[in-house]
């Protein structure tokens, strides 16, 4: 395994764990038990990729590599006992950045999977990238009766969509630079999430629909 594979695997592990931990954080004000949290954590971590693989009609990724489920379970158990730490502002911010890297990785992974299968080019890679990155979180919010992150004024789905569109444009016009494109698209997503987390950049007023 070379350095690049090692980096990707590390980020995948951290990303899956970050998604699972988001279920622990979401559960804090719901008095959930550790088992419910673990179920929710697994759904959050693998939900998006599962929808993507159903749409692509390929075997789901967590059936091919069981480590995703294992990581999600371990992250939920650690998160359950460590949650007072997670609640601290700094840990929360760390979590937001891990989550940002995770959605960036998963978005480009999802878009890339559609490209490699030549599936519905060039629209489907963008759709599937967004679905992979946000699907699990959407199901988590539905099950917890929380406002959906898809409909949030915070920049969450927009960075993911822009990153996937950027990646798709590189694939279309500069396919020989696609490795660079993947890194740039991930960086773009993480940077836009950073603006939202650190600078509280959000959707401008003119873009919000108003009821008269």
């Amino acid at each position: 395994m070379n350095t690049s594979d090692y980096i990707i695997e590390t980020i995948t592990v951290l990303g899956t764990a970050a998604f699972a931990l988001s279920a622990v954080l979401a559960a804090l004000d719901k008095q959930l038990d550790i088992f419910s949290i673990t179920v929710l954590g697994i759904i959050t971590a693998v939900g998006g990729g599962t929808i993507r693989d159903c749409i692509l009609s390929v075997p789901v990724f967590w059936a091919l590599d069981i480590s995703y489920i294992t990581i999600a379970i371990v992250a939920c158990i650690i998160g359950f006992f460590a949650f007072p730490l997670v609640q601290l502002g700094r840990a929360n911010k760390l979590y937001l950045y891990i989550d940002a890297v995770a959605i960036a990785m998963f978005a480009i992974q999802g878009a890339n999977k559609a490209w490699e299968m030549g599936f519905g080019l060039p629209v489907a890679p963008v759709m599937l990238g967004v679905i992979t990155a946000t699907g699990g979180g959407v199901i988590r919010d539905v099950l917890l009766h929380r406002p959906s992150l898809l409909l949030n004024k915070e920049l969450y789905a927009i960075p993911v969509a822009l990153g996937c569109i950027f990646y798709t444009i590189i694939y279309l016009f500069l396919p020989e630079y696609i490795e660079f494109g993947a890194v740039a698209a991930c960086s773009l997503i993480v940077y836009l999430r950073h603006l939202s987390i650190q600078k509280h950049v959000c959707v401008p007023q003119w873009a919000i629909i108003k009821h008269h």
Copy 2:
């Protein structure tokens, strides 16, 4: 392309746009931004057919023909800027009729796809017709935390189901008249929706469960 194909394509475009516009209307009292509305519009427009294609294990229709996604996006952007017009009573009624034609078309399209694949006859065509026509709207309502249209006293799912059952009966007993059956089934759905929209016909009292 002959006249019949041209009519079907026109109605498909209008139907996809109508579904997408329903997300704009649904967003009016939620202060959503244009990006969230577009995401919601795409989900509403292609959600039902996506579930149908996952169940049928065939490639999703919007991967084979990207115009569906394009139409949904354009409809959402136009709807966002034109929504004061859409709010007017007459525009709203026009919208309800376009939506009625759209669910009729999509229901029969969904039922027909199951028939052509010989999939789970004769029950699956009815199920898949209803899923195609209502699935997107159901997901939209779940994401917006609105009461589901499936559980509405208004006639929405009933016309769709009756239309699909009628189409299935024609396919079973009079397959040589199936083109006529498709038109008649669509007309039945639109007529029942018309009764609901114009005459406020709804579910009778005896059919509503009561808690003692």
Copy 3:
């Protein structure tokens, strides 16, 4: 058809009916009409297995054998007219036990289907068993805006998961006793549900996350 097949078929019929009836019970305080209840009953009865079959990329079970849909419809219609009887304490408890047998059967059926396809062993059988048994109820609760049974302090998903894990261990280490393992796993699920129904055993206090 031998005795064993006859027992399995009887339990499948009762289980499907129990799932469908749960929609009638859930509808009691929502003033739903018979048609909405039937739609909800069908979704509850076949939802879990449908998600499982989409993940497994196999034709959905209700397309191969239409009796599932028929049973769900008949159970909803009977339940609608008989609901004052269903409300009585004893009928309700009977219902909970039929439901317990149903989730046990459906969980092991789901796990077994994954094993027979050699799909994602040994994690996927547990996941798919839980999805088959609980998926329909989860969708029902989402559509009714009720707290999800997955996140309930009552023992519902835990027995199902433990039963599937037990079944998976038998399959891994004692495959020659798998028929016995299936019966034992089902019994375990029913017994744990019995403890929850009769003795009100629930998740212990230490396992519940607390917000400081």
